[in-house]
């Protein structure tokens, strides 16, 4: 439980992930599903058909209408929550590093999902491969989830398109998909089209390093920049004008991402790796109706 402080865990244990489109669809859980069956909470009547259990015949309706109707009850099932974690080399950048922050963030979201009775599965993607965790259910599995997250290695280049293709077969329709990444060098448009086919309730969380928001923290003047994934080099002059231009470019890029995701009925959240988690999760994202 070293990833998250106990106080935070205690606070998160009472929370649930809020949904927009996703519905619970399997197992026995705490979320009311669209399925009807042998439950406690009455849902509706329907005409009797041969073979129906006659114990559910509603005699009051028969008395009133002279027709046979059976009573139907709502079922409480589990929600499939899939968290995709970017483990490419670019995530190691920043102080504190984005990787470290992302691990904590995924742990917190996973914990909230487990607390809400959801079924959680995490996939770490980098290059053209994806590493899946086991499916976790119930808070008692939280330590396993944290342990798995702690042992993640961040390296290689990211290729989100290939990742999405690999993920598609594992996703349930209308489940909750959380993607945590820096979204640098992502071709998001193509990927979102694919995800739409599965009617995913998408929460895209962008994690940036403080230096990426404010490059003046890196250096000033003429510098040679080296891409952490491709090792490509670029020489630029980081003067005040360039910094202003960078800021504008960054905002435009983030807005572009947001528009793209919202167009697919998704939610786009941005954060910085030095943000305090408690504030982020319990205040900002509650306000944003991500967590209850």
């Amino acid at each position: 439980m070293s990833l998250l402080p106990p106080t935070l865990l205690q606070a998160l244990a009472r929370r649930k992930l809020l949904l927009r489109q996703a519905v619970a669809s399997g197992g026995v859980g705490e979320r009311r599903s669209k399925a009807k069956g042998a439950g406690i909470e009455f849902a509706e009547h329907r005409p009797y058909h041969l073979g129906d259990d006659i114990r559910y015949l509603d005699q009051h309706v028969y008395a009133r209408l002279g027709e046979y109707h059976v009573r139907q009850f709502s079922l409480y099932q589990q929600l499939q929550v899939t968290i995709l974690l970017d483990t490419s080399a670019s995530m190691t950048f920043g102080k504190p590093s984005k990787a470290e922050f992302t691990q904590k963030l995924a742990a917190a979201l996973g914990y909230v999902a487990l607390a809400g009775g959801d079924n959680v599965r995490i996939g770490a993607f980098a290059a053209d491969e994806i590493t899946w965790s086991a499916s976790y259910q119930g808070l008692k599995r939280a330590p396993e989830l944290f342990y798995w997250l702690e042992n993640l290695a961040f390296a290689k280049r990211s290729d989100f398109n290939k990742t999405v293709k690999l993920v598609m077969s594992k996703l349930k329709t209308q489940s909750l998909l959380i993607i945590i990444s820096d979204y640098l060098a992502f071709d998001l448009e193509t990927s979102l089209k694919l995800l739409k086919l599965k009617q995913q309730d998408l929460i895209a969380i962008q994690v940036l390093a403080p230096e990426e928001l404010r490059p003046e923290k890196l250096a000033a003047g003429e510098v040679r920049l080296i891409d952490s994934e491709t090792e490509a080099e670029l020489e630029v002059s980081l003067d005040s004008e360039a910094l202003r231009a960078y800021e504008a470019e960054l905002k435009a890029w983030q807005q572009g991402l947001k528009d793209l995701i919202q167009a697919q009925s998704g939610r786009f959240l941005t954060t910085v790796s030095d943000s305090p988690l408690e504030n982020l999760l319990l205040k900002q994202w509650r306000t944003a109706r991500v967590i209850s």
Binding site: A155, G221, S228, V236, S237, A245
Partner: protein, 1002 residues
């Protein structure tokens, strides 16, 4: 301060590269992605192209490192005097070094040796190695990398010789000097010579400025007289008339006395008689100096010594010539031991000047030139030349086995004993299986068993015939007397070669002993007749082991040459006198003044800064590595090297490169020679220049990998190889000299070895390879490619007359055998053609021809063997020779019975000999009538039928002019004893030995 390798200073130009890199240097920042920054870069204006880098410790240290590296590699040394590791002296031992600048003083050579000894004393010999190359008739490494006392004893033995040393020899000596240098040592080369030699050496050394060098020149300009080309020929021996011819060369204008004095010492007397003075008329020469050609008739009354003497001057060896005159030839003494063979005796009795003795057993006194052991057992080997016949052997030896079938399988045509012999005529029914002795050459073989073998031992030649002559028809064939004549010539090779042609005899009445020392064979000690001390033969690598008896110490013929080291008159152990003097040579020209002397500078040695510079470099590199690694390049930060760091690999690479640089620097500091690895194991390749073209081609590919790390010596088995064509790194006149040179080159490399490339893997080669310090790889390249045929040298009889049948003989070598076409061309026209079945391997052949209508004296024959598939470019398949046909022999038949003699004349005509017949009364009275004939046949002519004048004329004609005479008839005819014999100095053997002396031929 001086630099040993100043070229490396140019490396400091790399400083500009360092500055350039700093100019281009930017602060390196890792970012997660360049995506946003790329858009930024597109909108930015280009930077200023040139901006000086900011001064920094890193830049300073890097510049310092570059300068230190270039300085260290340039090997600077403080101080000027050198510290000697290896002192190599090239000593000129040519004829001019024997000159004395003061008539009583020491020679230039002695002065050079004294000077060398003085300088050696001033050295701390424990610190230096010493090598000595002597430049005489050969370039000789007398000692390589010697220490202390070895040097002084070596200098005590070295001598000069009256030979010429040319520029090519100097080049060879200097190449040798360079190759004797080890990688890390300081080699200093000192050349000790006189004016002319020093001039050549200075010019050649100028091409090697990197070599520490010094030329010391001894002696000044001298005027000199020299004798050259002296020849004494007999005009009329009866009247003691001689013709003396020669040349005197004069170098210098200050010579006043240019007279040539003659002195004569009659045989058996002491001291020389003044015999007169020859007036000389000098004429200037184009090449400088002047020369006088003299020719004078002399009357010398008796046998003795004639001395030609020029006035005493600086160079003694070209002032004197000795010529020995003999009244009579020294007879060859031959002893036949055993039952005897009539045919053999007949042959020896026919030889002029030979005394044949016979004894049933081997007498204790063995004062013979040749002992023939015929089917006898002897207790010990004779200590002279020996001919073993019919299974004769030592009594301790076991009986050899008999051969059931004797079919000749191979023979050798190139051996001196085979000259002019058609071995195919040797028909034998029985023979003995005698193994080939060590060092022996097999002349004729039957199924691998030598039938005739010959070798040279420490006491003379040894020939073994593995068959009984008395049971062989070979004695009746022409080859037998030729073989015996060859044998006698082989025993004393110089006599026949250099006898005055006017006398026409193998060992003339008056023998002018002008001999080539190379023709001596081993075992004969040369004792200078008129010298103060005796000379011993120089040790050679082929000297017999002390524990081996001289008779068993076989000597390879090619290496048994003896080189007298001083001119003068010598007496051989067998009593022969030899006059040994140097040929005419430019060494007599001493007008070249000595060049200025340069004293050897010795000191404690320069202070090498290499190590200190390296130490400084190491510190600088460490500091730079720390600064760079903890600073901008970050490769010394743990986080940068962590696997999680995306640039960890880059940082590791930089770190490893820096560490490698430090390790290299440290190794260099500790003395590991990375730039110039020192070879401990060297290879010297000795190449046989007599390799055929095929082998030379194959050799090229084999030696290519050896070339970078080997020395090459080419040796010339053919003595007449022109010096100008020698292109190898080193060259040697023969294998012995090449091996000596190789030993010198490998003196400091005990693990090294010699590779000998030769196809001549038979005969004497093995002897030369014994007792060497270094292992030898023998690389024979023999064999021809498939479908190639090689035709060996052709030979015919040494003397042919027009109309004589003659046998053309030689050998083929075929790699695969098969059918071939043989063509003989004569003077460019097809002469003979036949199909041939070639066997695989060597195959002897002989073909009989007869020039019945020979119009010319010389004919050129070429034999070509063609086989399908052979290369057109290969010239191995042909061989040729020029045959000289003397005019038809003419004989004069003196007879009283013309009808009977006409039958003889017709028989002679069938053999191509013209015959004239005359009655005794018409026989010539004057010499001029006889000179047109090659021989005279006295057919049934009694002595009384010829006038005494005619008889004396015939005697003189045979005796003095070499005319042939055949006497036919019965007891009444002019016969043995009827003509007075003259001039035999031979004395009969002592009665105690009592061998029976056989009668000699007239």
């Amino acid at each position: 301060m001086s630099f040993a390798q100043p070229g490396w200073l140019l490396l400091s130009l790399l400083s500009f590269v360092v500055i350039l890199l700093h100019i281009r240097r930017r602060k390196v920042i890792n970012v997660s992605s360049l995506e946003l920054f790329k858009k930024l870069a597109l909108s930015q204006k280009p930077n200023r192209a040139w901006r000086w880098p900011k001064p920094s410790w890193l830049l300073f240290l890097q510049l310092l490192a570059v300068i230190l590296i270039s300085l260290a590699l340039a090997r600077p040394e403080l101080g000027t005097p050198f510290k000697l590791d290896h002192w190599l002296v090239i000593l000129d031992a040519s004829g001019s070094m024997l000159a004395k600048d003061g008539l009583e003083g020491p020679s230039r050579f002695d002065l050079a040796i004294s000077s060398l000894k003085e300088q050696l004393k001033s050295f701390d010999n424990s610190q230096q190695l010493f090598s000595l190359i002597r430049l005489g008739a050969e370039v000789e490494v007398l000692g390589a990398r010697l220490q202390d006392a070895q040097v002084m004893s070596l200098l005590g033995e070295v001598q000069a010789e009256a030979v010429q040393v040319g520029k090519s020899a100097w080049q060879e000596a200097l190449s040798l000097a360079k190759s004797l240098k080890s990688a890390d040592e300081f080699l200093h080369v000192t050349v000790l010579s006189d004016g002319a030699g020093a001039q050549v050496a200075s010019e050649l050394l100028a091409a090697w400025p990197e070599l520490s060098q010094q030329v010391l020149s001894f002696g000044g300009a001298l005027d000199n007289l020299g004798l050259a080309d002296v020849k004494l020929t007999a005009l009329n021996l009866a009247k003691h008339e001689w013709q003396l011819e020669g040349t005197v060369k004069a170098f210098g204008s200050s010579l006043k006395d240019k007279s040539l004095s003659l002195f004569f010492r009659p045989e058996g007397t002491q001291g020389f008689l003044a015999w007169g003075t020859l007036a000389l008329s000098f004429k200037p020469l184009a090449e400088g100096g002047e020369a006088a050609v003299f020719a004078s008739k002399l009357s010398l009354p008796a046998a003795g010594l004639l001395e030609l003497r020029l006035p005493e001057d600086g160079l003694a060896w070209d002032n004197q010539r000795f010529v020995e005159l003999k009244e009579a030839p020294k007879a060859l003494r031959v002893l036949e031991v055993g039952p005897g063979n009539e045919a053999l005796e007949r042959v020896f009795l026919a030889v002029e000047g030979l005394e044949l003795f016979k004894s049933p057993t081997l007498p204790p006194e063995q004062n013979y030139d040749l002992i023939i052991l015929d089917r006898v057992k002897v207790a010990q080997k004779p200590q002279t030349n020996t001919l073993w016949l019919g299974g004769a052997s030592l009594s301790t030896a076991s009986e050899p086995l008999s051969l059931d079938e004797v079919n000749l399988t191979a023979w050798q045509t190139q051996h001196p004993l085979s000259a002019g012999i058609d071995w195919s005529t040797l028909k034998l029914t029985k023979a003995l299986a005698i193994p080939l002795l060590a060092g022996a050459s097999s002349l004729v073989e039957a199924s691998g068993h030598p039938l005739i073998q010959a070798r040279s031992t420490g006491v003379g030649r040894e020939v073994i015939l593995a068959f009984d002559l008395s049971q062989s028809p070979w004695t009746e064939s022409l080859g037998f007397p030729i073989f015996m004549a060859n044998l006698l010539r082989w025993l004393s090779p110089w006599q026949d070669a250099l006898a005055p042609p006017a006398l026409g005899r193998s060992c003339g009445v008056a023998l002018v002993c002008d001999m080539r020392p190379q023709e001596l064979y081993g075992g004969l000690a040369l004792i200078p007749e008129l010298a103060e001390s005796s000379l011993a033969p120089l040790p050679s690598p082929f000297a017999p082991n002390a524990a081996t008896p001289a008779s068993e110490a076989w000597l390879p013929s090619a290496t048994s040459a003896f080189y007298p080291k001083a001119t003068g008159l010598y007496r051989l152990a067998n009593g022969e006198l030899l006059s040994i003097y140097a040929p005419a040579s430019p060494e007599s020209d001493l007008r070249q003044a000595a060049v200025a002397l340069k004293p050897i500078q010795l000191g404690d040695g320069a202070w090498p800064m290499f190590r200190y510079l390296l130490l400084g470099l190491l510190l600088v590199l460490l500091a730079e590595m720390w600064l760079a690694g903890r600073g901008a390049d970050r490769f010394l930060l743990r986080a940068s090297l962590d696997a999680k760091n995306p640039l960890a690999r880059r940082h590791w690479r930089v770190l490893i490169l820096r560490l490698l640089t430090l390790v290299c620097c440290l190794l260099a500091l500790l003395g590991f020679s990375l730039m110039q690895p020192q070879r401990k194991a060297k290879t010297v390749v000795i190449l046989d220049d007599a390799l055929d073209n095929e082998s030379q081609t194959r050799l090229g590919s084999l030696l290519t990998p050896l070339k970078p790390s080997s020395n090459f010596i080419r040796f010339y088995p053919l003595a007449d190889q022109p010096l100008e064509t020698r292109e190898a790194e080193f060259s040697a006149p023969n294998l012995s000299a090449a091996l000596k040179m190789a030993s010198g080159l490998l003196a400091d490399a005990p693990e090294s070895h010699i590779t000998l490339v030769t196809n001549d893997v038979k005969g004497d080669l093995w002897a030369g390879l014994r007792g060497l310090d270094h292992p030898i790889d023998l690389l024979p390249l023999g064999g021809l490619a498939q479908a190639e045929v090689m035709v060996g040298p052709l030979s015919v009889a040494s003397q042919l007359y027009q109309g004589d049948p003659f046998v053309l003989q030689g050998s083929f070598y075929s790699a695969q055998g098969g059918e071939a076409l043989l063509r003989v061309w004569r003077d460019g026209e097809l002469y003979h053609e036949e199909n041939l079945e070639l066997l695989r391997g060597y195959q002897p052949f002989q073909m009989s021809f007869r020039e019945t209508s020979a119009q010319k004296v010389f004919y050129e024959y070429e034999l070509i063997v063609s086989q399908d598939g052979q290369s057109l470019n290969n010239l191995n398949n042909r061989s040729g020779l020029v045959v000289a046909f003397k005019p038809k022999a003419r004989v004069l038949i003196i007879t009283q019975q013309p009808a009977w003699a006409s039958v003889l004349a017709e028989a002679l005509a069938l053999q191509g000999i013209e015959a004239d017949m005359v009655e005794p009364v018409d026989a010539p009275y004057g010499l001029k009538d006889l000179l047109g004939y090659d021989g005279v046949i006295l057919a049934n002519v009694p002595a009384i039928a010829l006038h005494s004048v005619q008889q004396e004329l015939l005697e003189r004609w045979v005796h003095d002019y070499g005319g042939g005479m055949l006497i036919l008839g019965e007891s009444i005819v002019l016969g043995r004893g009827a003509i007075i014999r003259r001039g035999s100095s031979a004395s009969p053997p002592s009665p105690a030995a009592s061998p029976k002396k056989l009668l000699k031929s007239p």
